[in-house]
Symmetry: C3
Subunit: 270 residues, 3 copies
């Protein structure tokens, strides 16, 4: 059964009051809910960044948490509004692929289209702010114990939109992947799971620069590049007390952003 | 009677801990209150931006919510500290016009000057941070059930400061108005109520560029200008999956900020 | 006894979900805790800025509050993870000097190293995110009533790391000090306690420019420099409705950042 904790993720920023308004609508449904912001600083319309943030966070919340995610450039068009039940809780938002990272890790138990206006904020939702008019109240009702099945007709899990993304695959000399996110510290987070390198000697190559795999930032001197398994479980490239992205931009004129290819190399194979 | 939800709006930003300190003072009065941030990213000293944000948000909170708003360049001078009761709840902050947007929509039931030191944080408030010393504790007491009348002497509603702003008026060919806010997405929000164009054919002109009125962003192709009624109820100019402000800056060298004049045109009249 | 309010301070920013994840871990321990963000916008790895923010805020929270502070460039190295009890509450974070501002004002009652894995999030913490794996759960247990002594072995208060910082000292003509922080408004906050100038005639010199001490911003005209005692209790240099830092950068090509020397001058001594 869903619990009483809600998280919010969006590209609304914190400047305009859109997030505050969603919390007002949630409080109108149930002011006892605990509401946690995951982030509202997703770059406008960046579904891939939202996918990574939600995938990195959802497993760290209490069982039954409801996650509302709104990066929704197709709002008001024919894209579906959905809720999806997984083992850990419920996801609520637009069906545009932003849940595909979570759903690669946790299978769908049930999914519905949010077609029942009884759980909306207003009978005629605006064409531009379903975060306020549909997702916030529906999430609040779910976290208050309303059953997923009440919210609208069931939809087939395999009909949910997938986001096309660079893949990670074994090669003759190691693993080929790509950067999937860059965090505030300038750490370059790849799409290579740390489990593939744990317990091995490994290096990572980015733009023909090789960085040796280590345990933590301070395994290299301050200002030096270091490769490690990040706290999110992915292989990442960092700089001790600095920014790997800035380092690569300054020393190699390399953007070092999402999509940039990387290769993990195992010495025994080279 | 005021309820147990407080909102906070300020130009304090989120870098310095000023907002956290206000929440500490609120928790000292009553740690059971629900506290929601509307925004703290109002540009420093920008009373007009604060006015728009609060006006756009207050109606979406539970009945009786208390709204503390602190954009207060005159702190420590002779400007009054006030609380104002309206149908939806209570407003608390400096009397400098930041409530005038709300009060244009919702009449004053009662207003007081916050002169009773019994509800302040300290008997001698600082000259620079009434958010901490007066507005936070007074708001917390109000949300905890203290009556407005206890906080200080009544003041005449018509003595409250009004912010001078561009007006919206009917013309021979349509409606003349101005941009009143630009949001994070670069949407240009005018001061023309959507009710004046609902159900009609209409276009909007900005810098002699005409944009046809539509329903939602995706009524135009990605990257194209579109005019619509925004979720806040005002006529706005947007770009599908982009920024109208950036678009106008790049294609027409137009700032496209608050105050910029716009005209709604009805084809039948031209 | 520790109370049920937790504050969070970090350099994690609000873009990546790291803060949200910490709140998820806290909610797994106890979802009834009140969690307040002090700030997450500390510049990456800037321990001195964190020290100032925490020192400015901790005294404004209810008795027994638990303050988790994570600016932790040495994470995964040999730096200690600690909890420190003071009269007002408990501090939790890395032993790298970020608590030294608070501890200059409030003596240590007890300090422990966080060595007991029973109160960690996972038995083998990551090498890079002790905020999630150690500090968040330990703080949540403390705020839920777990005793400091359970968390690990006692450590000597005088072994806690001190941050070396510019000092403030009496001179023949006044007081010599330095800027210790610049806030969002561009106010230059010195390390000279306001108590040293209260009730006296005083001026402050920065880069040979003299600014006369006053009571509040509006004691000078809009756009003019003014010196006063800030709400945090330190002597500061500000501009009425503007930014002192920008003013000095534009008129004198002076950075006006932390470390910049200043002198308070008493007229009777010059």
């Amino acid at each position: 059964m869903p619990g009483s904790l809600l998280t919010l993720l969006s590209d609304f920023g914190l400047r305009d009051g859109y997030v505050g308004v969603m919390k007002g609508v949630i409080a109108q449904v149930n002011s006892d809910l605990v509401v946690v912001d995951l982030t509202h600083q997703i770059p406008p319309h960046d579904i891939a960044a939202a996918r990574f943030s939600l995938m990195s966070a959802y497993a760290h919340f209490p069982q039954g948490a409801v996650h509302i995610a709104v990066v929704d450039p197709g709002v008001g068009s024919t894209r579906r509004a959905i809720a999806v039940r997984i083992a850990e809780g419920v996801l609520v938002g637009p069906d545009n692929g932003l849940f595909s990272g979570v759903l690669n890790q946790s299978p769908v138990f049930a999914a519905v289209e949010l077609a029942n206006p009884q759980y909306w904020y207003i009978p005629q939702p605006s064409a531009t702010f379903h975060g306020r008019d549909i997702f916030a109240p529906v999430g609040a009702y779910l976290a208050s114990g309303v059953s997923l099945e009440n919210l609208g007709p069931a939809i087939a899990p395999d009909s949910l939109v997938q986001l096309p993304l660079p893949t990670c695959k074994q090669t003759e000399t190691g693993i080929s992947g790509a950067i999937q996110a860059v965090d505030r510290f300038g750490n370059l987070i790849t799409n290579i799971p740390g489990t593939l390198v744990t317990g091995k000697l490994w290096s990572i190559e980015i733009d023909r620069l090789r960085v040796v795999g280590a345990q933590t930032y301070s395994d290299q001197a301050v200002g030096e590049l270091v490769a490690l398994i990040g706290s999110h479980g992915w292989v990442e490239v960092a700089v001790n007390s600095g920014s790997a992205q800035s380092h690569l931009q300054q020393t190699r004129d390399l953007a070092g952003g999402p999509g940039n290819p990387v290769q993990v190399v195992f010495p025994s194979l080279t």
